[in-house]
């Protein structure tokens, strides 16, 4: 490959720039910004699908089995949207980032699921698996670079750019489920998978609803990682799903350190880890005497349908704060 190409990181041979799509759902909310920087560094044009809306979601639902979980239905919609606009769709296989934990089975098979709705040859994937020797994210990114025909220097530069981009999936209100950051008279923690709580459509705008009514909304990534004093919360085995573990840990931190005045636990209909762990998190909060609201979201959810419950929850918090003289 000519030196010029290596510098720009393009695929060489005078080909057009490769358009790579990233679905703005599921793991985009963990590492999306990093992947955008990485792929740009490797000389690709990056297209991120728009935030989930009714059209994208319904297309996805039409492509899925009726009883698969809500976020995967949305994922199929995003894949389909990108399929019509991109050369390749980047769907990494995010197996684990911690040796004793997994992401859920659907994450483990995500590229294969994508290949069930888009042409299999379009799916661009690498495996990130901390359980395996040589399964680190850096190795996976380097493998991706080689797959795209980039040279060693370009790959190193792209990985450095990715590391500098930070984690998460974008910034600002849109990435916080529409909730404004900042202060409020009371604090409500909205706990749930980031691809649920930070997706305004899937979460029916619950975070925004709270913040519009003067609450300070706390999402789980705003809870410091070392805030939890009891790691396993008395369970005899640690939770082995990464996202559920983090949610439960955040719940424990809130309960122990009084970081919020109430907890709303959002779970997705059909989500396996949620079906177990949301129950544990809600029970933990209830036992500690913290107001807790458990909401299961599905494609028929709307803010109108849950408004009464949200209002009752807010009233309860307000009443308790008044009693406590705050």
């Amino acid at each position: 490959m000519p030196a010029m190409d290596r510098q720009t990181g393009s695929r060489g041979g005078g080909q057009a720039v490769l358009r790579v799509g990233i679905p703005r759902t599921l793991h985009y909310f963990y590492l999306g910004r990093r992947w955008e920087a990485l792929l740009r560094g490797l000389g690709c044009e990056v297209v991120v699908s728009p935030p989930t809306d009714r059209v994208v979601f319904e297309k996805g639902a039409s492509l899925s089995l009726r009883d698969i979980c809500l976020p995967v239905k949305a994922f199929f919609g995003h894949v389909d949207w990108l399929d019509r606009r991109c050369d390749r769709i980047f769907v990494p296989r995010l197996v684990s980032v911690h040796p004793s934990r997994y992401y859920c089975p659907k994450f483990l098979a995500l590229p294969d699921l994508a290949a069930a709705v888009a042409p299999p040859e379009k799916v661009l994937s690498v495996e990130i698996n901390a359980k395996k020797a040589g399964g680190s994210a850096e190795r996976a990114y380097a493998a991706l670079g080689r797959m795209l025909g980039a040279g060693g220097d370009a790959i190193r530069a792209a990985i450095a750019a990715a590391a500098a981009a930070g984690s998460g999936g974008g910034a600002g209100e849109s990435a916080r489920g529409g909730a404004a950051a900042g202060s409020g008279s009371f604090r409500i923690a909205v706990l749930g998978h980031p691809y649920l709580t930070m997706d305004g459509f899937l979460s029916s705008g619950i975070a925004k609803w709270f913040s519009d009514r003067g609450a300070r909304v706390i999402l789980y990534d705003e809870i410091p990682a070392d805030a939890a004093s009891r790691a396993g919360n008395g369970l005899f085995r640690e939770i082995y799903w990464e996202s559920a573990f983090e949610i439960h840990r955040a719940g424990a931190a809130i309960v122990d350190s009084g970081l919020a005045d109430g907890i709303a636990v959002l779970s997705a209909f059909g989500c396996g880890p949620d079906s177990f762990v949301s129950d544990l998190t809600a029970r933990m909060a209830r036992e500690a005497g913290l107001p807790v609201l458990s909401l299961m979201l599905d494609e028929h959810s709307s803010i109108v349908g849950v408004e009464t419950r949200l209002e009752a929850f807010m009233d309860m918090i307000a009443m308790r704060l008044r009693r406590a003289g705050k």
Binding site: S64, L65, D67, I68, C69, R93, V95, S100, Y102, Y103, C104, P105, K106, L108, A109, P111, D112, L113, A115, A116, S125, E127, L235, F236, R237, I239, Y240, W241, F269, G270, C271, G272, P273, D274, S275, F276, S278, D279, L280, R283, M296
Partner: protein, 368 residues
């Protein structure tokens, strides 16, 4: 100390004789059915998977019947099965039961399993216990062999044939020595093979794959095997207790791992095993299609994560191999009549396809 344990297909029968030989006092799981399931379901999270609710129901009824020790298999994911014991421990504690929980999860090895049995057995020879555990596995294997042989025939009289198979399994379960077991196994095979077939023709062949518990437990899957046979078809089942035990615990070090083989077959469709029986389901459907099996039934509990992955991917496999499939999702609200109606329509499709293939000149239907 009184031990209770969950019921999974023939496991109960095989465990019963092992516990007896080890002198462990047991409260056998209650007969499966709606009472068990409803008991479990009211104390379970709403969208927990069906086997969880079933097992919880059994544990509650077992504790009510006087058990004080629970024996469970644990795990480390990624499927929910590995977290059953933790959740059930929490649920039963919240209900106010006091009990001792023995979970064979850490590490998930044969050595550990033997140790767990030693902990609850009054016998103290570790070697003797190891031998009993080995015999237990051989009994399960023999029962599976009997069942597999039975699956491949379509008996003239389903009722009596079913009774004959059950009796042979009982005889295997009652054996106490390896020699006796091998003899019983041989007799059983001969007996099953001598059952009168319904017709001399080549019956339709139906594969059954899916989630472990749902496939193995006839009371959960509405006796789908018997129903398939009642339509005059033979059955090829993709999930076996002995295979699962061997792949997981390595009873027979020289038997090849079926799971590894399945991973290889499923690779073009699934690059990574997401737990449960997902790879097995996909691999077996591919295998069945290559063997020319007429159709496949895919059984899964509602919200089962690995099997929903499999079901999505099987949509692709089914098109690529042109094999008819019936997907049956089961939970505590599933109705037996609805299952029967869908099965009937499916069997009609298979019969129609078979006729069409036989009637048509070969070249009119190019192989897809």
């Amino acid at each position: 100390m009184k031990v209770t344990y969950p019921h999974v297909g023939d496991l109960t029968l095989a465990l019963r004789s092992m516990f007896g030989n080890l002198g462990i006092d047991v409260v056998p799981p209650p007969p499966p059915g709606m009472k068990v399931l409803k008991t479990g379901a009211i104390h379970s999270p709403e969208t927990a998977c069906l086997p969880y609710k079933h097992v919880l129901g059994e544990l509650i009824l077992g504790l009510e019947a006087g058990a004080d020790t629970l024996m469970l298999l644990g795990g480390r994911g990624p499927c929910r099965f590995g977290f059953y014991d933790v959740m059930q421990n929490e649920a039963l504690k919240a209900l106010g039961y006091s009990f001792n929980l023995v979970s064979t999860d850490n590490p998930d090895t044969l050595r550990n399993l033997v140790r767990e049995f030693a902990a609850v057995s009054p016998r103290n020879s570790l070697r003797g216990i190891a031998w009993e555990v080995y015999l237990f596995f051989r009994r399960v294997e023999a029962m599976d062999m009997v069942h597999r042989t039975y699956d491949r025939i379509v008996p003239r009289n389903l009722e009596s044939a079913g009774r004959i198979m059950a009796a042979e399994k009982e005889r295997i379960a009652a054996t106490t020595t390896l020699r006796g077991l091998i003899a019983a196994r041989k007799t059983a095979k001969d007996v099953i093979e001598s059952i009168a077939p319904a017709s001399a023709g080549r019956p339709l062949r139906v594969g059954i794959v899916g989630e472990f518990y749902t496939v193995l437990d006839p009371d959960t899957n509405f006796h789908v095997e018997r129903a398939v046979k009642s339509f005059g078809a033979s059955v090829e089942r993709g999930v076996w207790l002995s295979t699962w035990l061997n792949d997981r615990l390595g009873f027979m070090p020289f038997t090849r791992s079926d799971r590894k083989r399945c991973k290889r077959i499923a690779r073009p469709y699934l690059g990574f095993s997401p737990g449960g029986e997902c790879v097995v389901s996909i691999a077996k459907v591919i295998e069945y299609a290559r063997e020319g099996i007429d159709g496949v039934i895919h059984l899964l509990p509602f919200t089962c994560m690995p099997e929903l992955v499999a079901a999505t991917i099987l949509g692709r496999v089914r098109k690529d191999f042109d094999i008819p499939m019936l997907e049956l999702t089961i939970d505590e609200h599933t109705d037996g009549t609805a299952v029967r109606t869908r099965l009937e329509a499916f069997m009609d499709t298979l019969a129609w396809r078979r006729r069409r293939r036989l009637d048509a000149p070969k070249e009119a239907f190019p192989k897809t």
